[in-house]
Symmetry: C3
């Protein structure tokens, strides 16, 4: 059980870092840039959560393997990126699971420290998608999750709510995390399959009969 949890945790760090360093390679950054984006994507969401929670329990400092796992992943991707770039669908699937695992970890930690439901949802979501948001901010771009897209952040919010609800209903152990993961992954897959997008104002205008922006 403990071993399963640790393996999932380790997997989430590696996958998040993988995505970050592929991004850096795509932008022609150097090895330091690849490591920096790997750390941001793989560990940035949890770090943001810990910097906000301020309970002195910082995941990346306490977990001995987090920083080296992320840095080594970045180095491997940097020197051998081709095999990963040829499997975009695999990366996409694994990315969705990685986000789901982070949402579960973030929501669980916020509940464990007795925070109220709104804070649990905010911190659960931030742990899941905060790394990608920081990556965009560090690249000087408007974070993708702020833009019209296929429900990336919305799925993270749904996952955090699912964790919170199942936890309130008396589920214990790894059940809330499992339910959270299923909700996050399923809602994301559905939004991709049926091309459901979060609305931006121009959609609303046309929906309400207003003038549509070009």
């Amino acid at each position: 059980m403990e071993f399963v949890a640790l393996s999932l945790d380790f997997l989430a760090v590696v996958i998040g870092s993988l995505g970050g360093s592929l991004f850096a390679v795509d932008r022609k950054l150097d090895l330091i840039g690849a490591m920096a984006l790997a750390l941001l994507c793989g560990l940035g969401g949890g770090l943001l959560r810990d910097m906000i929670m301020q309970v002195g329990d910082v995941y990346i400092l306490r977990t001995g393997y987090a920083i080296p796992a992320s840095a080594v992943t970045a180095a491997v991707v940097f020197f051998l990126s081709s095999p990963f770039q040829k499997r975009p669908r695999l990366i996409e699937w694994i990315d969705i699971f990685s986000v789901a695992l982070y949402v579960a970890a973030g929501s669980g930690k916020a509940i464990a420290y007795g925070l109220d439901p709104w804070a649990v949802i905010l911190l659960g979501m931030l742990t899941g998608v905060g790394g990608g948001m920081l990556r965009d901010v560090f690249l000087g771009e408007v974070p993708r999750i702020f833009q019209k897209s296929n429900f990336y952040a919305v799925c993270a919010i749904l996952g955090a709510i699912a964790y919170l609800a199942s936890s309130s209903l008396g589920f214990v152990g790894f059940w809330p995390a499992l339910i959270c993961t299923i909700v996050t992954v399923a809602s994301r897959r559905l939004s991709l399959r049926y091309d459901i997008k979060s609305p931006s104002q121009s959609d609303l205008h046309s929906f309400f009969g207003g003038r549509r922006d070009k």
Copy 2:
């Protein structure tokens, strides 16, 4: 008295969030983007202060209504932005009061935790204008307060100094906050009326008889 303080605090959160979500609508971000900018503008300055102070007393986590008030404001603005966009002068006035209230809250907290005067001024100013600064950083832009403008950050600094001075002179209760608010709002209105701007180097060059940049 307690009720007045809570109402003012609640009002500052709502107004800050209102400004942030209008900004998001203007940039055609989606609902998540509107909520994110609302949280950044409404609660980001205080969060930055708390992340720096590290006294384990995080406003957005401790105050149950802060996160939902900000998120609900964003949702209302997102679906019904027109009435707000038609009243720019009202928004401007309320924004100035919102910044002033935040400066008072930030300076007061820094003094309450026994920080020295320089830290009080820095944290008071950051609480007031840090949210707008973060908003600009997240949009990949140079923060407006770093650029030549009508004294936005300078007024926040004057307000923090006013809080500090009145507190040192023995004023207690809500008096320092009131004096801080008056100084912040008055200096901002004066700088707008007489079009007083913070200098940039090119002004200095022309002032000192140097070559003016085009």
Copy 3:
């Protein structure tokens, strides 16, 4: 001894702030922008370290002179930038020493709080080059240290490793800091003299016989 340490510390703050405010002048920011970049470059790396470490020991709040020294440096540079702009090589040398001193300070603090080696290296490097990274992020640019360049961040990492190694080997007092400083400065000078650059993927492609990007 204590006096020497304080003087070096003070010097590092002033030099970092000097570099930040010259950057702001170059970008035609106003006085607030100059002060903000001075604080980011002079104190941002250490602040980032302290916000991550969360031990409630925040350098800029605890050290009475840090904030005013940075702000006053910014004001002096803003009104009298010419003498500094005419000595780019002096600024460059002093900048290298400033980074080295920060790496030593960051590594030392991380070791003092019992963090593991990976965290020491990460925090030592961040203290050294985090300020410049934050400066770029706040200007909406991709941090220079993420891009192909002369080993800026790599030298900081080497310095942190040197501190860690010499400390593990039993060196005490100011010896680890001295060794760290020598390694950081020497590796940086060597990389500049022989134009050694960190690789980006396009270099690897040509090295491995792949297609070179234009």
